[in-house]
Structures are given as C-alpha cells and as structure tokens.
Symmetry: C2
Subunit: 209 residues, 2 copies
C-alpha cells in the first residue's frame, strides 16, 4: 500500500524515486541508467526500489504519467493568466527553457528518441503527451490568428506540429552545446515567424519596443 501522507508533509520514498529517475531519464535516457543508479543516489537498495516499482517498465509509466500531469498543470496556469495568444506562446516556450536550465531534455522528447526500445504502455503515453501539447497549441494558434496577434501561412494543425517539433529539436541540439542561448535563439526565431510583419501589427499589441 502507498504510504499515507497529508498534504504539506515530505515526499514519500516513491516520490523521491520518481524525482531521481526523472532526472536520470532526462539526462541519460531510459536505456542510460539503472536501478543501481537510483539506489546509490537515495542510499537505499535496489530491492527497495522494486517494492515501489516492480519493474523498470512500471517506473517508466509512472514517470511519464507524473510528467504529463505537471505539464498539463503548467498549461492550465498559462491559460488562467489571461495573457494574449502571443504571450501564451512565449510562456509555452519558456516551459522548455526551465527544463533546459537543469541541463535536461524534455522527458518525452528523450523517450521519443528511444521509442523503438520502449514497452508498449510507455509508447502510448509518449504519443499521448505530444497529442495534448499539439491540441493546446492549436487553440492558442487559432485564437491568435483570429485576433490578429499571430500570422502564419499553414494550417493551425500543421503549425502546432511545427512549434512542438521546433522546440523539441532546439532542446535536443542545444544540450550538446550546453548553451541555453542556442535554444532561446532558435525558439525566438521560430516564434518570430508566427508574428505579423512589423508594418501589419500597428493595430494590435506589437513586438516593437
């Protein structure tokens, strides 16, 4: 049975296992760490890990599930901010920056690379994560095009896919260089392509200083 904890108390062992495993996957990949790595970090034994997560596949599923929940909360937070569509896009890109600051790849971006080696439940969860990102972006992009704060030639769906791809790819490439600025430049340039040309934006809150 899971440990009973009241809100506000310290995280239980299962939660701490997830914290360490999450970091390991985001930095080294799912095939790049072992139970021994987690055990060493937490000063417990591998057997104790198996009590909380019977198999590595189970651990992987729990990892994606928690990550997706957090991401959904972050998106809800952006929505609740009442910001403009363009500002929401920028806030979305900033979520990636925060991950990159710990020298991590997006969890699901990392798992996407290793996709062919993953057990089916993890595969499904990874795809579901990207689907939800795409859906959220479709709403933002649709509204932005509607209110004139965004402008793009392709369909809303394709543009949403381009944004997810572009940001995930920018993370992927920025990490070997250890250079967040590289991500920020690629991301800014990507979003720049979705803004109206300078002479079109006079009627709406524009990018000009």
């Amino acid at each position: 049975m899971a440990p009973r904890r009241m809100r506000g108390e310290d995280a239980g062992t299962a939660s701490r296992i997830l914290d360490v495993a999450e970091q390991l996957v985001q930095v080294r990949g799912f095939n790049g760490f072992s139970y021994a790595d987690i055990a060493a970090e937490l000063h417990i034994t591998k057997a104790a890990l198996h009590y909380h997560f019977a198999s590595k596949a189970d651990l992987g599923e729990a990892l994606i599930s928690r990550y997706a929940s957090r991401f959904a909360s972050a998106l809800a937070g952006i929505d609740a901010s009442g910001a403009t569509s363009r500002a929401r896009l920028a806030a979305y890109a900033d979520l990636y920056v925060q991950v990159l600051r710990d020298r991590r790849m997006c969890l699901c971006g990392m798992l996407a690379a290793e996709y062919q080696t993953l057990p089916q439940p993890m595969r499904d969860a990874v795809v579901s994560f990207f689907d939800r990102n795409e859906s959220w972006l479709e709403v933002v992009l649709g509204q932005g095009r509607e209110d004139g704060s965004l402008r793009f030639a392709g369909s809303v769906r394709d543009t949403a896919r381009m944004v997810v791809s572009g940001l995930e790819g920018a993370m992927l490439i920025a990490r070997p260089y250890g250079d967040i600025a590289r991500f920020e430049a690629a991301a800014a340039n990507l979003l720049l392509g979705l803004e109206p040309a300078a002479d079109e934006a006079l009627a709406s809150p524009g990018p000009a200083a």
Copy 2:
C-alpha cells in the same frame, strides 16, 4: 590491416558491420543495441567484431565519421546542382525525409539525445556534425536573402540553427507516430516561414503555382 579491395567489389566485413550498427543506432540508440545484435545479424561472432572495432566507442566514432562524410557529399551534390537557394533548402529537408523513410532517426540527432552517456571523442564528432550543417545552411540562407528568394527576420546564424533544430525535432516527433507526412508538414511549414509573402515574390521565382 584493412582488407584490400578494388572499387566495385563487395563491401568488406568492416563496412557491413558499420551498415548494421548504423541502422541499430538510428533506430534504437547507441545504448539500445549490443555487439551481440550485430553479430547475430551478420552471422559472425562477437569476437570477430572486436577484431574490426576494438571497443564500442571505436565503433561509434567510425559510425559518425562515415555518416558525416556521406552527409558532406550530399551537401556538395546539392551545391553542384546549381539550384536556387530555396530549392537547396527543400533538397536539404529531403535528405531528412530519405532517412525517415527507413524509419530511422538522424544518426547525430539520436546521439545528441544520448550525449551525456557518450565517450568524449563521439561527443566532439556529434557537435562537429551540427556545426557543419549550420555552416552550410548559413551560406544558403545568406544567398537566398540576398537574391530575394528567401525572407526572414532573424540573423542568418540564428535562422540556420532554427532550421537544423526544426528538422531534427520534426524527425524526432514523427518517428513515434510512424508518419512521414507529419515530418513533411512540419518541414514544409518551417520553410514556408522563410519564403517571401505571396505579394512580395512577384519579381522573383515565387512559390505560387
């Protein structure tokens, strides 16, 4: 000593090892395959593999080296075609499509994900690969902006980085969906953002039908 072969003969064992290993890395990742996998595919023993590539790190270096050479040849081929800047960009994106058709990730894109687990020589080679891609794109983008066939707001360097990132990311995401069309849509949309608006391109070879 390396086997002596004349041009036109069948590839030697070392070359066939590289072929199989390359496919395995691009599909499963460097940490997702073993010497046993290659040995089984080629019907030789693991010991024979170690004769040609003493360590897995050596194999990895040879892999990137050959891949980078091929890529350089492909870029030289595009340059030799005499195509317009915009057509060169499209041809560049098509290189990615060809890789994706075998259900593979870009070799160096895959290794970028696993970067933190790689030996230093492999790390250096991966970074060098991206540097060369970026340099090539800078020339194409610079010329395109010059002759009016391309238009983008950011710097040539940042835009080159955005293109590499965008295409690598589009590959990364398209693979879990097993859908090349998803890559093509994201790539087309990305390049669309680099084309002059329809009413600006009348003086130069435009995208209109």
